[in-house]
Symmetry: D2
Subunit: 142 residues, 4 copies
Amino acid sequence: MTPITAEEFQELARHGVPYVGQLGCVVERFAAGDVLVRLPYSDLLQRPGGTICGPALMALADITLYGLVMSLLGRVELAVTTSLTVHFLTRPAPQDVLAEGRILKLGRRLAVGEVLMRSDGSPEPICQVTGTYAIPPDPGLK
Amino acid sequence: MTPITAEEFQELARHGVPYVGQLGCVVERFAAGDVLVRLPYSDLLQRPGGTICGPALMALADITLYGLVMSLLGRVELAVTTSLTVHFLTRPAPQDVLAEGRILKLGRRLAVGEVLMRSDGSPEPICQVTGTYAIPPDPGLK
Amino acid sequence: MTPITAEEFQELARHGVPYVGQLGCVVERFAAGDVLVRLPYSDLLQRPGGTICGPALMALADITLYGLVMSLLGRVELAVTTSLTVHFLTRPAPQDVLAEGRILKLGRRLAVGEVLMRSDGSPEPICQVTGTYAIPPDPGLK
Amino acid sequence: MTPITAEEFQELARHGVPYVGQLGCVVERFAAGDVLVRLPYSDLLQRPGGTICGPALMALADITLYGLVMSLLGRVELAVTTSLTVHFLTRPAPQDVLAEGRILKLGRRLAVGEVLMRSDGSPEPICQVTGTYAIPPDPGLK
């Protein structure tokens, strides 16, 4: 496999996909199977009521899970999300959001991960996500 | 209840939440419990491989479900998505996406809806979503 | 592939797995990608309040989706459910439940299907389920 | 609220609903928001290949989440599961299964919980479940 660093993954998260890249996510931890991504608060994320819109949190979940898979398998750009289940738990404050990903299963063909989000400075979970990735048939793993 | 028209809902979809509004969604049908929303293809949606990124489809699902709830209950701006499950079925072509929403349950406290998406001009589903909305306790329904 | 008939699939549903078999499900329709399974009402299914317990509906969903996959791929006994999302919509009446399955995606490695349930004699949906199946790498499909 | 003890909850789990009761689940821990339930291995649970069938794991998840809600809210028998998402991670061994529940959100109207299962004697997760409960409008909470 071709390993990928935190810097390279952040580059990918910011420039690979414009709709996600504009969020300006910061990769704060990128160890194998243990990834932390920060979504900086900005006006772009606002939703009436002074809170953060759901689609921005879903984009953050997707990028965090993608990072989680890459932290374990390297640069598998062809891995694709096949499903995502999102629970919105409480209204996020108008602040940075921290998303922590952990792996539940890493098979040869499927990976399942979980993301838990909280507002910076608060322990309370605001959003919980599980996602499944399909791993390409022959990723050259040794 | 305060009814809402297709035009008013499109206005809300485009200006209420900037991260979603920039998608420029077009409300093509807005009958009670039967909503069709078009996501116009643009460079913003691109993902490597000439396809559309998942977070844009999730934003489209969210707005379609929100429209579905409003088409039935009127302007319940306090209704909030509580969960969303997304299945990505096939890679969308670099084209407009049509999202069709239908209601599965409309209770006093919870609404459940489903969204099926396809590329314009193709019958094949590319993404299927179910979502749950919490309806405010006393929305003044008569 | 080795095709499977409605009778053979019903036999499998009744005797392959005892916890599911005791439900006595009846396969009422078994065309490619279009499956209808009846769960006969019995005391075993009861839940306080004169309704049917959720786990019996989940077992019905699982068997219906399994049938759906076999109706398309033949006897792929190694296909396994990888995920299931269940929405309980309304309390079922103490009556037979009809579960109708349809396929959303049939790929080489993953199949995604949907099941909609209603009480016999009523059009209203009581439970909606989406499920994903992993298809064995080399099922000998021609 | 009317508190409920581990013994009372186990009684409910074993006798309230026959299809679930026959599993003979054992409540091993029952603190507020922290519940551990054991599913004893038996022939009833078997699935070809010497493993445990999915519907038995789903029933275990449902009972664990129900216990979790009661551990926090007392005897709210009218609380109902509104949705459940299950990820089957690896084939369980033919052994007892331990299900550990934790709460993600406890609101006035909705509770969200997570269940992680493993085979007795192994740390590896075999099944992960998130579920949502609707709490009756006026449960008499003080």
